[in-house]
């Protein structure tokens, strides 16, 4: 006798984790907007537009990191091409934002500026319907899902795994980048999409719009964490972990790993697509460099820094690495690559379980650890 789905999802988290999640949401949905809108700009408690954009951006990255963790931490599949799905989601939603510019572009034409520049007379077929919000949102989900499904089906069917799979995903995102760099592909080439003006008719730079996007990102991140918690604890999640640890044995028992892997792979891609769609209106630009192999492999390091195989780890990792990045690239731009490179080396050599693993070890070293097995994974969200 199984309990209804909603109950099972709600009981996936224990009370402490719900509390932490509640605090996180209260911070993002009430406290930050109040501090931004009501507190005067010269007060030390004022939250600046820059901070909101930065944290909103990092929350999108955290969403990507959770998606990455689902397949790497729980499925044992290291993807070096998740930037592709992120960018596809971003481009799909970016098409809608480009159409919302309307006649306010620098050429004052009905078509997006770059098409006027290329001397195109009409929208290409794949731009049809992009002026509808619903269609664009649907595309942002469906496009990464489709690409991931087709690619994953062929890759998993022939049991490509490990290093092979990683490098082929890297090649995939590289090919995507080359394709989107071409002007003829029809997505703005080198410059991508930028100079957005409106979303659903509201000005995209208005503080209220920013806060709504910020809150929405926080909500999506929280919902993803709950969903992922439930998923990895379910029967599906346990089979997935078994496939990660001993694929052949799972096959011998009678499971077909293909569908398990394909499901989590496609879900992960969809989550990335959502993150991309939330990222573009907040950051205001999307271009092919999002698909560069370096960007995708950086996602893996967020997860590794935080601790893979835990769900809060990737969120922590995304915040730590990206805050460090925005500090370094301003203060010591020439040392950022050294730092990032050393981070890759140090984390893989010394911290295989990431920061969360380090914290767990500390807790375990203490005399009577009262914490249950799951509590450590759901600390206070940053």
């Amino acid at each position: 006798m199984r309990k209804p789905l909603i109950i099972r999802i709600l009981t996936a988290l224990d009370r402490k984790s719900w509390l932490a999640l509640g605090i996180f949401l209260a911070l993002c949905l009430v406290v930050v907007p109040a501090l931004h809108l009501l507190v005067p700009a010269d007060s030390p408690f004022h939250v600046s537009t820059y901070a909101i954009t930065l944290i909103g951006k990092i929350m999108c990255y955290a969403l990507v990191a959770v998606a990455m963790d689902l397949i790497w931490g729980y499925g044992g599949i290291l993807s070096l091409g998740h930037g592709l799905f992120f960018a596809l989601g971003g481009y799909a939603f970016g098409m809608y934002l480009m159409r919302q510019i309307g006649r306010d572009g620098s050429y004052g034409a009905e078509l997006p500026d770059f098409m006027v520049f290329l001397d195109w007379k009409a929208l290409p077929w794949f731009w049809q319907g992009s002026d509808s919000f619903g269609w664009a949102a649907m595309l942002a989900l469906a496009l990464p899902a489709l690409v991931a499904f087709v690619f994953g089906y062929f890759a998993f069917r022939s049991r490509i795994k490990g290093v092979y799979f990683s490098i082929i995903t890297q090649a995939l995102t590289y090919a995507g980048m080359l394709l989107f760099f071409r002007n003829e592909t029809g997505f703005g080439g080198n410059n991508g999409f930028t100079d957005f003006k409106r979303i659903l008719g509201y000005s995209i730079t208005a503080p209220e719009t920013r806060l709504v996007l910020f809150g929405l990102t926080a909500l999506v991140l929280a919902a993803t964490l709950v969903l992922a918690r439930w998923l990895v604890g379910s029967r599906f999640g346990r089979v997935l972990a078994a496939i990660r640890d001993a694929e052949s044995r799972v096959m011998f028992i009678g499971y077909n790993p293909l569908w398990y892997k394909l499901t989590i792979w496609t879900l992960s891609a969809v989550l990335c697509g959502i993150a991309g769609a939330l990222y573009v209106p907040q950051v205001g630009i999307i271009n092919p460099s999002e698909m560069s192999p370096g960007n995708s492999i950086e996602i893996a390091i967020w997860v590794a820094v935080g601790g893979r195989g835990t769900l809060i780890g990737p969120v922590i990792g995304a915040f730590v690495v990206n805050l460090a990045k925005s500090w370094f690239t301003v203060s010591f731009p020439e040392y950022w690559l050294f730092f990032l490179g050393l981070l890759f080396i140090v984390v893989t050599l010394m911290l295989p379980q990431g920061l969360v693993g380090l914290w767990k070890k500390r807790m375990a070293a203490r005399p009577a650890p009262a914490a249950g097995p799951l509590q450590a994974e759901k600390g206070v969200a940053p």
Binding site: W72, L78, L80, F151, F154, A155, R157, S158, R159, I160, G162, V163, Y164, S166, I167, I168, Q170, A171, L172, Y174, A175, L178, L179, F181, R182, E247, S248, P293, I297, A300, I301, A304, E334, Y335, L337, F338, L340, G341, L342, L343, F344, I345, V347, T348, L349, P352
Partner: protein, 526 residues
């Protein structure tokens, strides 16, 4: 007042040197105001086929022809000569330079070339016949015919025949034109094709026989040109394949032995290329006379430097990640970032200039539109040489035997006494060293900069995937196949589409043969 003594002097000089001087009136016309008049004068002078005409025209091309007091004079430094006779003349008071614009310059160049056809030196005649292949005008036809009559050298004759045919395409007589088209139809060159192209249209060529002949000639020529173009693509595919081979050989060895992909492998190429740059700078500073041979020194240096970097990488990082292949991927990516930034700090973010030694510049011209550059030929030879060395090392030495043993079965090799840990280090050093050699090769055909290695990791991994692990033959066939296939595709569909097609093709290929073309035979357990 000045004229008489000058004239006298000139006459004397003319008699003494017993030269058939050119008509002074013609020379005077070279200094005409109007460009068209100048061109006409140049043509007339050319027709005389006189060495004196050549002298005057050369002076004009060198901006040494002046007009003084209604006479043309040559002024060379402090000395003045009468233009028509070449006799020394008194320096005029206010000489006025004859202006030579670009059109005139072109006319002068071809006129001089035509006049050199009558020189007694065969080498000079050959050079001028070559020059005339690309710039010949209709007015030269009679001159060329005369040169052809006198010429005995077979090679020069062949060239002259072509030049004559080109010149007589403009002849009013259809029979002459027909002969010209016939003569030209045997050749293969893009310039002659574009010369014949207008004759295939009725508007330009009224005579049916000439037109049909021209259409047939253009068609045949296009076939031959297309063939040469494809041949050129195959050649550049070969050269790309040999670079890929150099990059992939090292990767295949380390992947075969340790099962890890070194994401910093491309940066080892970069290290090799910078070693070549370093040797070039050293030679420039210490032994400028030997600069042409800096590559000979760069090859061992690059091998050693890259191998050293490889050993350090293996000892400090990769060694500690055994059995964790995915983490190795990330850690070596970190290493690659550190190496890239290190190169930026040491050598600057800009590309550095590594030049070909003089013996590697130029190329072999097989056909007018198919030139095989020497540097690419040398690289293909170099790749073959490295391949041979690696083959000897792997199949004829004790170390090679150990490496193969560890590749096939690590625990078993360890059981029979192979020092697997040391073999790992040595194999890694070898792989890194070969990448360094690849870097030297790469420095000769592409830019040397901190980011140069980034693009090669995916490509060389594809070679390993397609070729299969642990087999040299697999890497060779895969590298050459991928190189040629991608260059042919590039020619037909553009670089990006070619790249994407290739990736898709490889993914499909792995469906069929997950172990690559040449799989190691044996039993495997996960």
């Amino acid at each position: 007042m000045m004229m008489k003594p000058l004239l006298f002097l000139a006459l004397c000089a003319g008699c003494l040197s017993a030269q058939a001087a050119v008509d002074p009136a013609q020379v005077r016309r070279l200094a005409a105001e109007d460009s068209s008049d100048k061109v006409a004068a140049i043509h007339q002078l050319t027709q005389t086929a006189d060495p004196d005409a050549a002298r005057v025209l050369r002076a004009m091309a060198d901006d040494k022809l002046y007009l003084a007091g209604g006479k043309a004079v040559l002024i060379d430094g402090e000395q003045a000569f009468d233009a028509a006779t070449g006799a020394p003349a008194k320096m005029p008071d206010s000489p006025e330079a004859v202006t030579v614009n670009n059109r005139i310059r072109g006319e002068l160049a071809s006129a001089l070339a035509a006049l050199e056809l009558f020189d007694s030196d065969p080498a000079l005649r050959l050079a001028s016949a070559r020059k005339l292949q690309s710039n010949v005008n209709a007015g030269m036809a009679p001159l060329l015919a005369r040169a052809l009559e006198k010429e005995r050298d077979a090679e020069i004759r062949a060239l002259l025949t072509l030049a004559h045919a080109q010149a007589s395409l403009g002849s009013p007589d259809p029979l002459v034109r027909l002969e010209a088209v016939k003569a030209l139809s045997e050749t293969t060159s893009p310039t002659i094709r574009s010369l014949l192209q207008p004759l295939t249209l009725k508007a330009n060529e009224a005579d049916d026989r000439v037109r049909y002949k021209a259409i047939a000639a253009v068609k045949r020529m296009e076939q031959r040109l297309g063939f040469a173009e494809n041949l050129g693509r195959v050649f550049s595919g070969l050269s790309l394949g040999s670079i890929l081979l150099l990059a992939a050989l090292g990767l295949a060895i380390t992947y075969g032995v340790m099962g890890v992909i070194n994401m910093a492998h491309g940066e080892l190429l970069m290290v090799g290329a910078y070693s070549a740059y370093g040797m070039q700078s050293l030679f420039r500073a210490v032994a400028p006379d030997w600069i042409d041979w800096y590559l000979a020194a760069a090859v061992p240096v690059a091998f050693c430097v890259a191998a050293l970097v490889g050993v350090v990488m293996e000892r400090t990082v990769i060694r500690w990640l055994y059995g964790r292949t995915l983490e190795t991927l990330l850690a070596t990516w970190g290493l690659s970032l550190v190496l890239i930034q290190g190169a930026r700090v040491l050598f600057g973010a800009q590309n550095v200039e590594v030049s070909n030694p003089s013996w590697m510049s130029g190329g072999i011209e097989l056909l007018p539109n198919l030139v095989l550059p020497w540097n690419r030929i040398v690289i293909i030879g170099f790749a073959l040489f490295v391949l041979f060395l690696v083959w000897v090392l792997m199949n004829r030495t004790r170390l090679g035997m150990f490496v193969r043993a560890v590749t096939q079965n690590r625990p078993m090799a360890g059981c029979v006494g192979v020092p697997t840990a040391r073999i790992d280090t040595l194999a890694f050093a070898l792989g890194a060293g070969i990448a360094g050699l690849g870097g030297v090769a790469l420095s000769q055909i592409s830019n040397v900069g901190p980011d140069m290695g980034q693009g090669y990791i995916v490509d060389s991994f594809m070679v390993v995937v397609v070729g299969g692990v642990g087999q040299l033959a697999g890497a060779v066939w895969a590298a050459l196949g991928l190189g040629i296939f991608s260059k042919l595709l590039e020619g037909w569909a553009g670089a990006v589409i070619a790249k994407i097609t290739l990736l898709v093709a490889i993914i499909v290929f792995i469906q069929k043969r997950p172990q690559g073309i040449f799989a190691l035979k044996g039993r495997f357990v996960e």
